[in-house]
Amino acid sequence: MARLALESAAASSTIPVRSGGERESVNAALEERSLGDRIYRAAITLFALSIPLLLALVAWELLSAGWPTLRRFGVGFLTSSAWDPVAGDFGAAPAIYGTLASSAVALLLAVPLALGVSIFLSELAPRWLRQPVGFLVDLLAAIPSVVYGLWGIFVLLPLLRDPVIPFLRDTLGLGATPFFRGVAYGPSILAAGLILAIMVLPYIASVSREVLLAVPRTQREAALALGATKWEMVRGAVLPYAKSGIIGGVILGLGRALGETMAVTMLIGNRHDISASLLAPGYTMASLIANEFSEASSDAHLSALMAVGFVLFATTIVVNAIARLLVRRVARGGAVR
């Protein structure tokens, strides 16, 4: 009733003379409106607050579940390479090492490629090629992790075993370095790094492309007017401008690589061991949890896995926060100019 009165008042252009009773109903409508607004405001605020709340809850749950382990082993948890669920002796060093090593391999391969793609797509490619190629690269991000793992097991590993690793080790002579020593079974940090490279490439490429597209045209035109070649324009005028945004994109990719689970679990070999050789199997924090969590029988084992989860959580949160700050600064800078 009250809303009807309000709407009819709004709809008619002439303001009708109201009796006291009608005015009261309008007042009631206004009051109801502010009540509705208050409820609405409260609801969306609650929804918005759910995000920080969720993050805090994740931190709290993992920390409290992992606390017995963290208290018992202290910093030694991060540096010890023991992992003996029976004796209750735990250290996350191999998993931390494997996480960092596989992510490093991934970035080493993915960053130049992603940079190349994004420069190609934003600066150099013919216009008709930009959208389809960009779409294909974006599609890489849509492929589920488990499908990467499946492909890795049945296509990538045999390829690595036969032509690739012998070629790298013997023909290129990389076997002389500590990184390519030992027997290659297939599942290895190298294999995990390779699949991670493919997986993080679209993330780095799409952020870099966006950042490059945000570089003002005048920047390019000035370089070309000075007689720069296309590449000199990219290197001298575009890349420096986009630098921190690109670094942000790379760190974002690192965040993805650190926490990636399924594909890595299927390809890294899952062994608690630190070896300099990339051909050796290893473990990452995520794959350690994925593998052992459902089999963890003792509370100590479970708590150790939770502690690993907390370390992983804290690492990726910090990495992501840095990445977002870098990317946002560029975006904001672009908006101001």
């Binding site: 709407e7 709004a10 709809a11 409106r33 502010s34 509705g36 607004d37 969306i44 929804f47 918005a48 607050l49 995000i51 920080p52 969720l54 994740v58 993992l62 130049p112 992603a114 940079l115 190349g116 190609f120 797509l121 490619a125 190629v133 294909l136 690269v137 599609l139 849509a142 492929i143 589920p144 488990v146 499908v147 793992g149 499946l150 492909w151 049945f154 493919i198 490439l201 070649t229 590449w231 000199e232 974002l252 926490g259 990636e260 689970t261 299927m266 995520a286 949890i289 994925a290 939770m306 989860g309 992983l312 959580f313 990726t316 949160i317 990495v319 992501n320 926060a321 990445a323 977002r324």
Partner: protein, 296 residues
Amino acid sequence: MSATGLTGRQATGLRARRTRRARSAVMVALTGVAAVCATLPLLFILWHLVSTGAGVLGLDFFTNTPRPAGENGGGMGNAIVGTLILVAIAAGIGLPVGVGAGLYLAERRGTRLANGVRFLSDVLNGLPSIVTGIFVWTLVVRPMGHFSALAGGIALGTMMIPMVARTTEEMLHLVPTSLREAALALGYPQWRASLSIVLRTASAGIVTGALIAVARVAGETAPLLFTAFGNQYWSTSPNQPIAALPLQIFAYAISPYDEWHRLAWAGALVLIALVLAISIVARLTTRGRFAGANGG
């Protein structure tokens, strides 16, 4: 004076320009090579999926449950249904909360809380999915005492919230302020102006964002490992462990049986088709709406 009529300085200048041009051409070509290298894995993967998986796909695959090892045949019907149920539960949680948070971010833009929430939702978006999995395990599975579809749906829904919130916010920004002002001028209360004018205008874009989020969580495995857990039998109960396509693919891929490997490829093909279909529908939704908007 040289024979060609150039001074020495001009000659070196010419040579320098040539090397600069050559270097530029080489670098341009290298970026092109990078583009080719970046698209090759995708084509490889899709090709392997189709060539290995397509032969296994038949009616059986969609209607049967997995058979014990050693027996041929069997399918992933229960896993396909399970994935749909999990995604439905996830959307039931992720969409309202995500859209609500997105509304807040758009309407209270510039306030300290909105900036903080936006930043944290980006950070939450980068949370490893396995961490979400063990988080929901401690929160839901441990108190309940058993794995369940509900827990799996909550895990996936949690992942959807920040994705949906951010796309909703971005889509709401595209709605001109004059629309809201017109609604308010007509006497609409704030909440109705927001929900039935602004949100509705942005709905096509929000649907697209929601579909993309759905496509992303539909392929997730890690958050389901310790929540939905998987199931060899038909189950549609939210209170029971439930099969999911990604879980089944994982289990079969790491198994030692050739027959299961073939099923894993077929499952992966179905999963990719599902994910891509949702993504393409998402794109079409927006395109259709925009075309309509242009025409009108």
